[in-house]
Symmetry: C2
Subunit: 292 residues, 2 copies
């Protein structure tokens, strides 16, 4: 199975692919395909070059990745899965280097910001921006400078033959990214499912309240709501909603039929198996990472 | 009155300040204060260096400027006004240059994207990214290259003594940015008012529906809803809501008191006079711009 992601080899998106599909597939049947942009991930799956694509949609600290919500709408692909990845940043240097030698650190600005307190605690270490976390490890390798470290995933360190000087250096432990998995065709969602939809409403008082009533009146639990402007119609919005349940359940079919009475546009992006990031599961993942 | 904004002189934020305050104040009593970052705009007002700050919160094509929602929450300033600015991009070259001489165009990536069809229509003209729209005019002036044009506001062209080669070159005419005005103290909102609030809810089924009911049951019209993650509490959110009415109205006081029954956190950012971007008003603005 070929799975597209945005970024360099060793990116957190690639780590999410291995976590998500690692339990279901033999490693040698899993091929990750790096893409330059999110658009290219969608195009790869639409063309049939890859069976699946994996895109980040939200980070617990930074919020939604809006570009991917727009691309879900512009493309006619189905959402067939989700994955929550706990992000653990590593400080990565040349082999044989010690922490006390480090004088500057390079990474994506968001990763630098997420490790700000740690970097300050090192004392007199300068932070420099790079376009990518995994790419910053590549740069540090090429510069061959013993005083330069990068911040990226454990896998990025391994890929480029570099050394991990410190692990889990993020200031806030609750740094989790949610990914969605896209495919050209829907899948059977199973019994513990979630559904993602997008809809538009008339711009009139109470319209969102009415739209949410179709779920509240049927005890359907919303897990996410997001609004995006409708291009060409200032201050009218698309709403993206995720809820517990699948379109194979009668109560969900009725709720969506009810929603159609109010919505000027409605599309089901997909029903898919729900992923839960439990603490025991998280520990297993950490352990399996350390065993590699 | 000193008013802080983010960007270089000639930025669209500065244009919004002149549009908003121009009718109420003599030009010589209005001083715009450029700041390097949004953080600095908030700090400027908090320190008392400026009486007001003006921050973009949403664009009709690109969506919300999330950083400023976070800063509204982190600071204890009041929202005292809003302004809708219709964004008209100009193609700006050296004095005496004709359109046919232009071979490359420089601007902020978002402005380049918003004029994509126009740039393509010029044929063989290369686009280059700059950090800022007004800053790109400064660069074009300094390079002193007859084949280089910038994309920015009319005012930026005037400030740097440059020539406007084409006006309103944006592909989508409905390109509007909404700004909010911040101050250290609230103002009297008047009779045609809007109110901005932020609140958090328990993460349980139907909680957002209940929260919206306090407005729907009282026929209070929501004009905007936005969600932002709560740092350290994955998948719990702050909600930012704007609605018609002021906290001096009994029905609004009752709605907010009702909301307090459900909300784990509630803060009124401010009530302020509503700004409406009507077509006649918009024409006046365009005319007054052309007269300058």
């Amino acid at each position: 199975m070929r799975i597209a992601f945005q970024g360099e080899p060793g990116a957190y998106s690639e780590a999410a692919i291995f976590e998500h599909f690692g339990n279901h597939l033999q490693d040698n049947h899993l091929q990750t395909v790096p893409c330059e942009s999110f658009e290219e991930v969608f195009a790869c799956v639409a063309r049939g070059d890859c069976e699946r694509g994996l895109i980040p949609v939200e980070n617990s600290l930074a919020g939604s990745i809006h570009r991917n919500y727009d691309l879900l709408l512009q493309n006619s692909l189905a959402v067939v899965g989700e994955h929550y990845l706990r992000v653990h940043h590593c400080l990565i240097g040349l082999p044989g280097v010690t922490l006390s030698e480090i004088r500057s650190v390079i990474s994506h600005p968001q990763a630098l910001a997420q490790c700000d307190a740690y970097i300050k605690s090192l004392g007199g270490v300068k932070a420099e921006a790079a376009y990518d976390t995994a790419g910053s490890v590549k740069i540090a390798r090429e510069k061959n400078d013993r005083t330069l470290a990068a911040i990226a995933s454990r896998r990025a360190a391994e890929l480029y033959g570099m050394q991990i000087l410190a692990e889990s250096i993020e200031d806030n432990a609750e740094n989790i990214t949610r990914f969605q998995i896209i495919a050209s065709q829907p899948v059977a969602p199973g019994s513990d499912a979630k559904t993602s939809i997008v809809f538009a409403l008339k711009n009139e008082p109470g319209s969102l309240f009415k739209a949410l009533s179709v779920f509240a009146l049927r005890d359907i639990d919303l897990t996410k709501i997001e609004s995006r402007p409708l291009a060409g119609k200032p201050w009218e919005y698309f709403f993206y909603i995720d809820f517990a349940g699948s379109i194979q359940e009668e109560v969900v079919v009725r709720a969506l039929s009810h929603l159609e009475e109010y919505a000027t546009y409605l599309r089901v992006l997909g029903s898919y198996p729900r992923h839960r990031l439990g603490s025991s599961e998280d520990k297993q993942i950490l352990m399996s990472n350390k065993e590699k």
